[in-house]
């Protein structure tokens, strides 16, 4: 399967949009080579604002540009965008609902060797708690490009979560991305696996493996965490059990967002896969995913357990 990092797709899609729409501006905090905004900077230097290592100032400046009818894309690593600059995002951007797109790369464990200090595992939880904020986590390069176009046309603040490593391309160019709409990737009735971001590909792989054991898992790509697709969750609940998978803390992210809908509408047993309330550490992305149990093999094991639990209850 062909692979590409979502940050690479972001950098390229930003240039494409930049050619089409001259009200796009891009802000960066000294990481343009990593976030890939350097591509936009080369093409449109006059619309690219290098803010230096000053994420708080970057968010405020983006807000100011947005008050003047610019669509401001602000990029840095997820840890700094949502941690260092949290209150600027909350008060300068989200409170007045300004048209700023916070496109954060290097989210989750797969930052890799830089270690736990740089691995944002709580960013989804932080961002989705802010009123007015939309939270999107694309599964692959294709969805990233589609999502970027969608958030350009959407008026309001958005948090777009992107990753560092190359991940499998699961969608072709005909995929349809809509903010707030989950994509069903496989039909199934034994349980539903709801995944987001780079965990969607291993979730599909796990579903393939489960088929061989006679377990049919319904698989969802929940790319929009907020507003969450309640209809999709209700459909998933009809299978009788839901497994959520995310490269994020199990506290406050995708699993919590899904559970909030499930317990209110159609309680079914759930299992949460993610980082279990601990920090990341140094290692290669693949080593880390394995060490934290976020592999296709492990998803299949947990799914099987959950399906069995459901049928025995």
């Amino acid at each position: 399967m062909q692979k590409k990092a979502t940050r690479d797709a972001y950098g390229e899609a930003l240039v494409e949009l930049g050619h089409e729409f001259d009200n796009i501006v891009v802000l960066e905090a000294d990481l343009s080579k990593s976030t890939k905004t350097e591509l936009f900077a080369k093409e449109f230097p006059e619309r690219f604002f290098q803010m230096g290592i000053a994420e708080q100032d970057m968010m405020g400046t983006a807000a100011g540009l947005a008050t003047c009818n610019k669509v401001a894309f602000a990029s840095t690593f997820a840890i700094f965008a949502t941690g260092r600059a949290f209150e600027q995002v909350r008060n300068s951007i989200a409170y007045p609902s300004l048209n700023v797109k916070i496109c954060a790369t290097h989210a989750g464990l797969t930052v890799g060797e830089d270690g736990g200090s740089h691995q944002a595992i709580e960013d989804i939880a932080i961002m989705r708690a802010i009123p007015n904020m939309t939270v999107i986590v694309p599964a692959d390069a294709t969805e990233t490009a589609k999502a970027l176009r969608a958030i350009y046309h959407y008026d309001g603040p958005v948090y777009l979560r992107l990753g560092r490593p190359a991940v499998p391309i699961i969608y072709d160019e005909n995929m349809n991305f809509q903010i707030g709409k989950a994509n069903k990737l496989q039909e199934g009735h034994d349980l539903a696996i709801i995944a987001t971001g780079i965990m969607v590909a291993p979730a599909m792989e796990a579903a393939e493996a489960l088929k061989k054991e006679g377990i049919l898992a319904q698989v969802w790509d929940m790319a929009t965490i907020k507003p969450i697709d309640k209809e999709a969750i209700r459909e998933a609940a009809k299978t009788g059990a839901i497994l959520t998978v995310e490269e994020h803390s199990i506290i406050g992210g995708l699993g919590s967002a899904v559970a909030e809908v499930v317990v209110e509408n159609s309680p079914v047993p759930m299992q949460f896969m993610g980082v279990e309330d601990r920090f990341g550490q140094s290692g290669t992305p693949d080593e880390l995913l394995k060490a934290y149990g976020l592999t296709a093999e492990n998803i299949a094991i947990k799914a099987k357990e959950l399906a069995n639990k459901k049928s025995s209850s």
């Binding site: 803010m51 100032d57 968010m59 405020g60 807000a63 100011g64 009818n69 300068s92 007045p96």
Partner: protein
């Protein structure tokens, strides 16, 4: 500035001070000290300097204003009301449930407010963004901002100060409301060491120092700032916290509390404003 204009500004400022006191008394909370120290600058901006239109608060070529020290909201609201952005009577809804006059400025609720502020240290970055947009679009508008002196303790101010000089935002004119007091005491005692002029100069700004209650001095400083070809301008305005109400002047306890009935009457007497319309 001719004498007629000077008298006009003085009268507007006097009425504005009375409205600030009345609004705070009505809300039973809010920040009188820093509102009264900044009101002369605001009066000058809205009645002598800024190109704004109360009938069309969002027109794209307008000058912008950012109240970085958002707790001075009563002063901003009063200037906007005096200018005609909304009825002056609305000032008496300050801080009440459902009011457009939130405790700190909310650009989505109140016409004339260009930026939502309140959390200190964030405003100058927003002003920079507006100034950058002006440069990018070849607009001739000016972005004005008022910062607090206690606010200088926030690190983001200095990040933003670097940005403004790096991008040569000569279309940005900021004021420092240097009234020397913050919630816990004199700023010199709390943390800020002062030396704001040399600090901003070191950050690449064009710095001026004036009496922030002298309209002629404010006017001359703004005109000088507009001549600046590259640097953003910081006008360090020496002010008195609580200016115009003797028992509030220079008194730290008037940073963030409203006057009671007797204090309100006394304040309005000093301001020569006993009648309801502020006159």
């Amino acid at each position: 500035m001719d004498e007629k204009k000077l008298d006009e500004l003085k009268e507007i400022a006097r009425q504005s001070r009375a409205w600030i006191i009345k609004a705070l008394a009505e809300s039973k909370s809010g920040h009188p000290g820093g509102s009264l120290s900044a009101i002369d600058i605001l009066t000058y901006l809205y009645f002598s300097a800024m190109n704004v239109d109360p009938q069309d608060p969002h027109f794209v070529d307008r000058d912008r204003f950012v109240l970085c020290k958002g707790h001075g909201a009563p002063a901003l609201y009063t200037s906007l009301a005096m200018k005609g952005f909304f009825p002056k009577e609305d000032l008496l809804t300050l801080r009440k449930l459902g009011s457009r006059l939130q405790g700190h400025p909310d650009m989505r609720k109140l016409p004339g407010v260009d930026a939502s502020t309140g959390s200190l240290g964030q405003g100058l970055s927003i002003a920079n963004g507006m100034a950058l947009a002006g440069k990018l679009d070849n607009k001739s508008y000016t972005v004005y901002a008022i910062l607090g002196d206690g606010e200088m303790e926030e690190g983001q101010v200095w990040e933003a100060a670097m940005t403004a000089s790096h991008y040569q935002l000569n279309n940005l004119i900021a004021f420092l409301d240097y009234n020397h007091l913050q919630i816990d005491g004199r700023i010199e005692d709390v943390k800020s060491g002062g030396n704001f002029a040399s600090r901003f100069k070191a950050f690449g700004w064009h710095v001026l120092e004036i009496d922030g209650h002298d309209f002629k001095a404010i006017d001359e400083a703004v005109l000088a700032a507009k001549q600046e070809l590259y640097a953003p301008s910081m006008i360090i305005a020496h002010t008195v916290k609580g200016k115009g109400v003797p028992f509030m002047e220079g008194a730290v306890e008037w940073h963030g509390k409203a006057p009671n009935k007797e204090q309100t009457a006394e304040a309005l007497k000093f301001l020569g404003a006993l009648k309801e319309d502020g006159r």
